[in-house]
């Protein structure tokens, strides 16, 4: 379809829940999105806008409705189930319990994450060399986890678990990192640590990341691109320069307009020139 080389391409992605019942919800409505390699995208939008659903479709948790296509490096991955897509996708969920296994040690959790998307065999899951690697990956957190490799993850605090989940999601250096409100439940200090680490790995490993957040300030200050979702559609999509001129107030106004029922054309949501619509893709 498009000529330029995108890491991730979404074409006419729709997702309907409870189809054919009174509870039918159109969580994603014919979304088109091109994501360049190295994009670090902040995703905002009100509750129920479809942000988590978008990440789920990218990760392969459920397939898009008929006609939707997902390409990674121009390879059609639409038909690949979640575990087959894991090679490309690292993920941190809002709930630290989802991303880590409580009854296993830090070392065992990291050994699971290290082989993301790779064939597993009858070699020992961990060894000295891997332990050193885990140790090195935990040091930047500054939480002392590197000295507790044998501790059960269930004994860590929520923030420590989430920090570990982030390290695990990036350990195998997947091309795409999906973050779903991953610092929302953390105390300010730990949130800052996890956020700094996020910025650091995304930049250092040249990862492509989507970071869902409800924090406007965070959305403005982090990443090089910002998209806003509303009712299953992407209503705002702006690049770094345009984002740089924006204040939180502008964003809140845009957000309120988007959530308001009298829906205006995407391009007048913000001051002209500050918005790149995606509906023309």
């Amino acid at each position: 379809m498009s000529e330029n080389k995108n890491l991730l391409k979404l074409r006419r992605i729709s997702k309907v829940f409870s189809k054919g019942t009174v509870d039918q919800v159109r969580a994603l409505d014919k979304i088109n999105l091109d994501i360049n390699s190295g994009d670090y995208i902040a995703v905002i939008g009100s509750n129920g806008a479809g942000k988590t659903t978008l990440l789920n479709v990218i990760a392969g948790v459920y397939p898009p409705e008929n006609g939707g296509k997902i390409f990674v490096n121009d390879r059609d991955v639409t038909g690949l189930s979640e575990y087959r897509r894991a090679h490309y996708v690292g993920r941190v969920y809002q709930d630290p319990h989802v991303g880590t296994a409580a009854k296993m040690t830090i070392e065992e959790n990291m050994a699971m994450a290290l082989l993301r998307g790779q064939p597993r065999g009858l070699r020992a899951a961990s060894n000295k060399q891997r332990r050193d690697l885990f140790h090195g990956a935990l040091v930047p957190l500054g939480l002392g986890l590197e000295n507790r490799l044998a501790a059960l993850v269930g004994t860590l605090s929520g923030g420590q678990r989430q920090a570990l989940a982030l390290v695990m999601a990036t350990l195998s250096k997947p091309a795409i990192l999906l973050l779903d409100e991953h610092i929302a439940t953390l105390d300010p200090r730990t949130a800052q640590i996890v956020l700094d680490l996020t910025d650091m790995v995304v930049t250092r490993e040249k990862m492509t990341a989507l970071m869902v957040t409800h924090n406007m300030e965070l959305a403005l200050r982090h990443g090089n691109r910002l998209i806003m979702m509303h009712k299953g559609r992407i209503v705002v999509d702006m690049n770094q320069q345009r984002k740089a001129d924006l204040t939180i107030h502008d964003l809140v106004v845009a957000f309120e307009r988007a959530s308001g029922e009298e829906f205006v054309d995407d391009n007048v949501l913000l001051r002209p020139g500050n918005v790149v619509g995606t509906s023309d893709l």
């Binding site: 989802v98 082989l115 597993r120 009858l122 899951a125």
Partner: protein
């Protein structure tokens, strides 16, 4: 009073029983604890192993081969249960009950009649009795079972630490994370449930040879016995790490069999054993809950699986 020789015999006998029923407990541990898969196939696959061994031995097959075949048959039973669960999405509990019930008919078909005597056949134990230096039947049963147990322990202890074994263990802990890490959790579930039932059938096959007969009803309550052994092992030894967990399960089985042997020796009717076992498991499950309740801790509603 129990005399020293009686005590020695009781301990020896319980040790031997702890080992052969230990395979079953290891299987139950694999499904219930490691995979969090409530597998009731056990009552059927235990008899399946015994039936396969009996029929093959009566046909003149080498008892070691027959014992291996029992293991294989158990693998197949577990395979069916796990396929029903993963591919047809039948809940684990129901899938395993279905297979357990079906196995009753299958076991009867294999055996041809409800019980088969094995006393005059060549079993792994009668072969062991020819080894020099082993005087009593109990000693060679003990040695035979111990050799088998060491082999099973070493294999499991190695396997559960491999990359695949780790994925299997993680599946029972956090399936979503495991899928996110690129593992097909259907496969790990199938592997685990099959292996577990292989172990259970192995136990059935060995028990059949030791006791010298097979009865189509000998599996009733085996799942509860396995659970009791696992719970006792965990409660007594509070193990950490794969190797200690496995050893704790074997030790738990030993303690359980010892309690049962003593109770029998003290004059309890054999028919009451299942009641006692069930009561034991209920107490073991209820005590931690009641303790928390007394301390007025928050408690989640009872799981329904």
């Amino acid at each position: 009073m129990l005399e020293p020789t009686v005590v020695g015999h009781l301990l020896g006998f319980s040790a031997y029983e702890g080992l052969v029923y230990g395979f079953l407990a290891l299987g139950v541990y694999l499904t219930f604890r490691v995979l969090a898969f409530p597998d009731l196939t056990v009552d059927g696959s235990f008899v399946l192993g015994a039936a396969v061994v009996a029929v093959l031995i009566i046909d003149g097959v080498n008892p070691f081969l027959a014992t291996l075949a029992a293991l294989g048959a158990g693998l197949c039973a577990g395979l069916v249960t796990s396929l029903l669960n993963t591919k047809l999405r039948i809940p684990a509990l129901l899938a395993s009950i279905l297979v357990m019930v079906a196995l009753y008919s299958i076991n009867l078909r294999i055996m041809g009649r409800p019980n088969l005597p094995l006393l005059r056949e060549v079993t792994i134990f009668s072969l062991a009795s020819q080894l020099p230096g082993l005087e009593t039947r109990l000693v060679y049963q003990l040695v035979g079972a111990a050799v088998l147990a060491v082999i099973v322990f070493l294999i499991l202890n190695w396997f559960l630490r491999t990359e695949i074994g780790l994925a299997l263990r993680a599946t029972g802990d956090n399936e979503q994370m495991v899928r996110g890490a690129g593992v097909d959790t259907d496969k790990t579930t199938i592997l685990g449930v099959s292996t577990a039932n292989g172990l259970v059938a192995l136990s059935g096959g060995v028990v059949a040879q030791a006791q010298g007969f097979v009865d189509v009803n000998m599996g009733i309550g085996m799942i509860i016995m396995g659970l009791a052994a696992v719970i006792i092992g965990e409660a007594l030894f509070r193990p950490k790490g794969v190797a200690r967990l496995l050893l704790a399960v074997l030790a738990g089985t030993f303690v359980y069999r010892l309690v049962i042997s003593v109770a029998l020796r003290l004059g309890m009717a054999p028919g009451d054993l299942k009641l006692i076992t069930a009561a034991l498991v209920i107490i073991a499950l209820a005590v931690p809950y009641l303790q928390k309740k007394i301390r007025r801790e928050w408690l989640p509603p009872a799981p329904r699986w």
